[in-house]
């Protein structure tokens, strides 16, 4: 069972029911569950959609999957009238390396996901929602399925939810192993029983999505935040975060910190403080070398770049990286950045769906170059070649996977050029193997 952690600086909104047995529907209700959706229904069938969307807009909630798109705005793009049925899609294909927050949401608070899906459905006039979990999360799918069955048994889901005229059905779905399916249009393909190849946009999912119908697709954490926004009120939620970055974020602190774990902190929380106070500092009393702020696709930051860095979408963007999926990976001074870059690109090479050539070929050549480089057979020219390859992937693919592979690579080469140079001319890697960390700590 994944260990739960706690820190006094946490503001528990999404995680407030973690560890409280809220996977049980009665317990969830006892803890105030399903009140938010009732509050929405109480607005009346006419006023309800606009009321919800206005609340979402005012809350400054932004997509927790990585892109940080304003949720209320996204929902407002769904046309009111549609010949085809509309759908709500919950993206629980959590696969960005460094990210494990949705894991805890499904484990501890599955009903919050259901309730958020229902509210999204009310907002856009959808009668059906899908909750898609990555295939590896089988035990979490079992929990989710039970939660859905319990909600049906209570009459919360189905034809007349809470005795209203609204209908809402929820279907859970499993993936079968594919990072690419975390991309919104690839996820729809997968849910339609196809290979997870991204679609060309426009049209965007809000207009033409699942089965060709208007679809809103949101990350599981975004959806789990929705009932909280409605319950506490948009203004109160927005006040927790920073300007244009409402609420909290589940930050997944991993790597070389003393106390790794998922911490719920207000948007804009200082990254240095997060590492040194919340995470207890660098393991074994070592020094910080670098930090990946938002999952493996976000460019690495140096210690001097995090001094005054508030963790919200805008500030991290200004610092040249991205808040991404909330996966904060901390790297100590005994780590070989070439090896780290190689491991990062190996992942994207493995996961590239192969549709766009810059991504398929680019990730493959980057992996080959970095493998050779790390083994000590690189040349000076290779460093520039790696950079050149990565630059030429940027913006030239249908989905963000190409960028996701290129962005961190560019960061590594730019910020750690010296380490690349240290590997030149057949020198062995100047760092001990990663695994040696355990052995050398006194």
């Amino acid at each position: 069972m994944p260990r739960l952690v706690s820190h006094p600086d946490e503001v528990k909104i999404v995680s407030k029911r973690f560890g409280m047995g809220a996977a049980n529907i009665d317990r969830y209700i006892e803890l105030g569950g399903y009140e938010a959706v009732k509050k929405c229904i109480a607005q009346g069938p006419e006023a309800c959609p606009a009321w919800i969307i206005n609340e979402m807009k005012a809350s400054n909630l932004r997509g927790r999957g990585g892109a940080g798109f304003p949720t209320g705005l996204k929902w407002s793009f769904v046309p009111k009238q549609s010949a085809k049925p509309k759908y709500v899609l919950v993206n629980g294909d959590e696969s960005e390396p460094g990210t494990c927050k949705d894991h805890l949401i499904f484990l501890h608070d599955p009903h919050a996901v259901i309730e958020g899906t229902m509210i999204a459905g009310l907002a856009v006039g959808a009668k059906m929602g899908f909750i898609y979990l990555r295939g590896e999360y089988r035990y979490l799918l079992t929990i989710m399925e039970k939660a859905v069955a319990d909600a049906y048994a209570k009459g919360f889901l189905g034809k007349n939810i809470f005795g209203s005229e609204h209908e809402f059905q929820v279907v859970t779905q499993t993936g079968a192993g594919a990072y690419e399916v975390g991309e919104e249009s690839a996820l729809m393909e997968s849910l339609e029983g196809k290979r997870g190849i991204p679609r060309i946009r426009p049209p965007f999912p809000a207009v033409v999505g699942l089965y060709g119908g208007p679809t809103i697709i949101n990350n599981a954490e975004t959806i789990a935040s929705v009932p909280a926004v409605i319950s506490m009120g948009a203004a109160a939620y927005a006040a927790v975060g920073t300007e244009r970055n409402g609420g909290t974020r589940l930050f997944c602190l991993s790597g070389h910190v003393e106390r790794p774990g998922v911490y719920e902190l207000p948007m804009g929380y200082n990254l240095k403080k997060m590492i040194y106070e919340v995470g207890g500092g660098i393991r074994g009393g070592r020094k910080l070398k670098a930090v990946v702020p938002g999952g493996s696709s976000t460019p690495v930051l140096l210690p001097e770049e995090i001094e005054n860095l508030g963790m919200d979408f805008d500030q991290v963007g200004k610092a040249g990286s991205m808040l991404g999926s909330g996966g904060v990976v901390v790297i100590d001074d005994q780590t070989c950045m070439v090896e780290f870059a190689l491991r990062t690109i190996s992942f994207y090479q493995h996961e590239s769906c192969g549709w766009c050539i810059p991504c398929r070929e680019g990730t493959d050549w980057l992996k080959k170059s970095l493998t050779r480089f790390h083994a000590g057979f690189g040349t000076e020219k290779d460093i520039d070649n790696i950079r050149y390859l990565a630059e030429n992937m940027m913006g030239r693919t249908f989905c963000p996977l190409g960028d996701a592979a290129a962005m961190p690579t560019l960061g590594f080469v730019k910020k750690f050029r010296k380490e690349f140079e240290d590997h030149l001319n057949g020198k062995p890697c100047p760092f001990a193997k990663q695994g040696a960390v355990e052995l050398t700590v006194v």
Partner: protein, 170 residues
């Protein structure tokens, strides 16, 4: 003969599939879960399973194979009874995942994607499994084991060996 007795799947799974295809607005949406559940029962996605799934969904076998080949969890030949999947992605790597993988390789005498001689275990190096804050982490079939060191490896193996023996009545 009823459709059920002709199925390559157990009656329980066949009934589950009957219900599954009804869940979606479009039948084909059941494809990915069906492939995975078929593998869970048979141990891999067999030709016979592909034929029956294609038939149930009104698809061609080629179409089903085409989809199946995309997903990394699906395999087309048997693995060990317990497939050990060691995550070595960045967060786990930083905390010693490769040492854990090495230890599994040593204990089992197999490399990546190898099946140990006894057939009880197979070993696989996998990408991020969503347990980054509790790394190094592995999955044995669908069970997570986290915060591991190489010294946890023998205990994990003997636990599953015990399960295998109990089931086969050795």
């Amino acid at each position: 003969m009823s459709a059920e007795t002709m199925s390559v799947f157990s009656p329980k799974l066949a009934r589950r599939f009957d219900a599954l295809v009804e869940k979606y607005p479009v039948k084909r949406s059941a494809l990915v879960p069906m492939l995975l559940y078929a593998q869970d029962e048979i141990g891999y996605v067999s030709d016979a399973a592909i034929t029956e799934i294609a038939d149930r969904l009104g698809l061609t076998e080629l179409d089903v194979k085409n989809v199946a080949s995309y997903y990394s969890m699906l395999r087309f030949k048997p693995a060990g009874r317990f497939n050990i999947q060691v995550c070595t992605n960045i967060s786990c790597m930083l905390r010693g995942a490769y040492d854990v993988l090495d230890r599994f390789q040593k204990e089992l005498g197999v490399g990546n994607k190898g099946i140990a001689k006894d057939g009880v275990f197979s070993l696989e190096e996998v990408e991020c499994i969503g347990a980054c804050c509790w790394g190094p982490a592995i999955q044995v079939n669908y069970d997570f084991h986290d915060e591991l060191t190489p010294d946890h490896v023998p205990g994990i193996l003997s636990g599953y060996r015990g399960q295998a023996k109990a089931k086969e009545g050795f």
